[in-house]
Symmetry: C2
Subunit: 417 residues, 2 copies
């Protein structure tokens, strides 16, 4: 279960209420017209999940391998990594997942050295099929492990890409297992498609729970519930000039990769030239509490009033570690916390930080997960995707494209050609 | 060697030139009056480094231990972690460093399970001596490993704190080894004091090189060189309303923890109520290339023009991994990069991204390290500390305090008392 609590200073003017109603109509259209296909992935990816599950059950190589290497970058890795990071501490017999994202020689060589060829499944993920970092790293994998992709080792490779992409053609030509991403699902909205669900299913995660959590959230929203999403989008976008930055402050280390996923989703979707030709956008920043209270909090408290802050906290960590009842000579003033659990401490930090920020007149809201469960993760992902779409509609931008990154790709190619 | 290249759109008005001259006088005063003590840590920490080195050489426990656990948060861990992350891939016989920062039960229990008591040195770091997260985790360590701090196991514990703090008194009372942080060196400026240098020296790093690099940078700056620092500070602060966000885009995975150190330094120092009572500040954001080109770049390119972007790149990764000359059927269009090194690819990505951003009229600058060396790391740290001080002077704020975080601490205590 997830609770959404807001404590905005801003009020809902009647014009905003109208905007909310209009935007709700528009997002219904986006769903019905398939402007993006992510809305229904919770249901539509289920058969593919079953397929991946059967494939894993019938394939002796996958049964005996202990590592899954994801070769992908951006939307092809961030969401999968986020879910793996959230779930791995509480799941039983799960394969290790390793992410080869950056063409960084130090990072690559360290990770390559930790891989045993015979025990590893390599999944190359690229929507376009020709992402330069991903294909270059894939070539390195082929060379480093002498992987015979055309013959003996093809079972160790899986491709996830758009239908008819060059990677799809490559995979089909060599009878390599391939899964497709719906054309109308962009990279940063694709974690609940084959992109995330196939690798996570093969790793042994209960992806069905994730999909069902996402599906339930989407259905509730499209049947007129979860109105808080409309309110939050309306307030954040109406005040986007005054507070262009949203800080996501997550109070659990295992959420760090989730905040990176959020940064991509938010930044790449909402940083656009709008229909009036103006540069617009909301800037996402991810932080982890309580660590970053010792880093970024001062700026929020006393710096420019250009930020909203969203907290995520867990009600239960499923461990129960109590702070030992030890009194250290001269340091007795810390004893007030003795006997409480570490969870109570971090929870208290989150609440105290929220209260102190709110007291400054800064707009805050909070997402409370009763625990890290598959269902909650699915819901949280759908929550953020819907919120992003709503903000995009209200900002009059195309939420789903990314024209600004093309120039850099062209300049890069010219340097090498 | 480090090269600093700027490509600012903004010009240096005569008023700014005067401001630079005035601020240079002021930072000289800060140094002479000891407003902060970090300026001379490059020289002043040398004797302490020698002391730690001798201690390690004469202590059989330290010689045989293979792990150093740092119990600390914020300024007590970020800098040390940044240096460890940058250097560990290229240093020889180094002890593993493990950082216990967040009172997060999942993270804590995983890390505790990876520690062998007999092989581990525990260093507790807290400037005040009573940081609640740090002391709580220290108590957990004492209980979990049945560490006899008053007797048999005291050699396995070291404290780093201010002289006469409660932790100092505790350590002295039980004859536990303790090192002091100069009173006028705040947490986020303390990595070159005992805070970073003692643990890193004990781990086996060449900390002398780091200190010498920092010292040389500081001396050059205070003898009228490295004027680019004044220029950058003048431009960033003069345009702080127009571009309140500085994005640090580092093109190497091993720099990720360095960007976190920068975020604390920049955010906590520069987010302040200024001498006119106004909320002011520059917001730091850290990103890693090329990964975050697939995440945050779109927002920089087409979003609000509220950002400056600083790139850090390495000229050499000290590996030489070439992209294999493999042509994959149907994916031949990626072959243009074959035969180049991964370093050339990531370097090309950095240059192409910088060029595409600059073409939008966005202010950019670049820091080029010829390699990851101790000397360069020391210089880079001093560069950022000096830059932060200069920005603070020009913004008319107190760079070295953090009054905004006290309220939250009080609210936290009330929740438990």
């Amino acid at each position: 279960m997830i609770a959404y609590e807001d404590d905005f200073v801003w009020g809902l003017e009647p014009t905003l209420e109208r905007k909310m109603a209009e935007s709700y109509e528009k997002i219904m259209c986006e769903k019905e017209q398939g402007v993006s296909g992510y809305f229904t992935l919770g249901e539509e990816t289920l058969p593919l999940m079953e397929e991946a599950r059967s494939y894993a059950a019938s394939n002796t190589f996958i049964q005996q391998c202990d590592t899954i290497v994801i070769i992908g970058i951006g939307g092809s890795s961030l969401g999968t990594k986020a879910i793996d990071s959230m779930l791995k501490h509480r799941s039983g017999k799960i394969k290790r997942m390793l992410f080869l994202e950056n063409p960084d020689e130090i990072d690559l060589s360290e990770k390559l050295a930790s891989i045993t060829k015979e025990k590893t499944l390599f999944i190359v993920v690229s929507k376009s099929g020709s992402t330069i970092e991903t294909i270059s790293i894939f070539k390195e994998i082929l060379a480093y492990f002498s992987l015979d992709y055309a013959g003996a080792d093809k079972e160790q490779i899986i491709a996830i890409t758009d239908e008819d992409s060059v990677l799809d053609k490559f995979a089909k030509h060599y009878s390599i297992e391939v899964y497709h991403i719906p054309k109308n699902v962009g990279g940063r909205f694709s974690v609940l498609s084959a992109v995330g669900i196939v690798p996570l299913t093969l790793a042994g995660y209960n992806t069905e729970g994730i999909l069902k959590g996402a599906s339930a959230m989407s259905k509730r929203f499209f049947s007129g519930k979860e109105k808080h999403l409309l309110k939050k989008a309306a307030l954040l976008t109406a005040h986007s000039k005054e507070a262009p930055i949203n800080v996501l402050f997550s109070y659990a280390n295992c959420l760090e990769d989730f905040t990176k996923w959020y940064v991509q989703l938010w930044g790449e979707s909402l940083g656009k030239i709008d229909s009036d030709g103006k540069h617009t956008g909301l800037t996402p920043i991810g932080h982890i509490g309580s660590v970053d209270q010792h880093s970024f909090l001062q700026l929020i408290m006393q710096g420019p009033r250009d930020k909203t802050v969203t907290f995520i906290k867990l009600e239960s960590f499923q461990k129960e570690m109590k702070i030992p009842d030890i009194s250290l000579k001269f340091i007795e003033k810390t004893d007030y916390i003795n006997g409480y659990s570490f969870n109570e401490l971090i929870d208290g930090e989150c609440e105290a930080t929220k209260e102190s920020i709110r007291k400054q007149g800064i707009n805050v809201d909070m997402i409370v997960l009763d625990a890290i469960t598959e269902k909650n993760i699915g819901e949280l992902i759908m929550y953020y995707e819907l919120l992003t779409s709503l903000c995009g509609i209200m900002m009059k931008i195309n939420t789903y494209d990314q024209p600004g990154v093309e120039i850099g790709k062209q300049i890069l190619q010219k340097r090498f050609k």
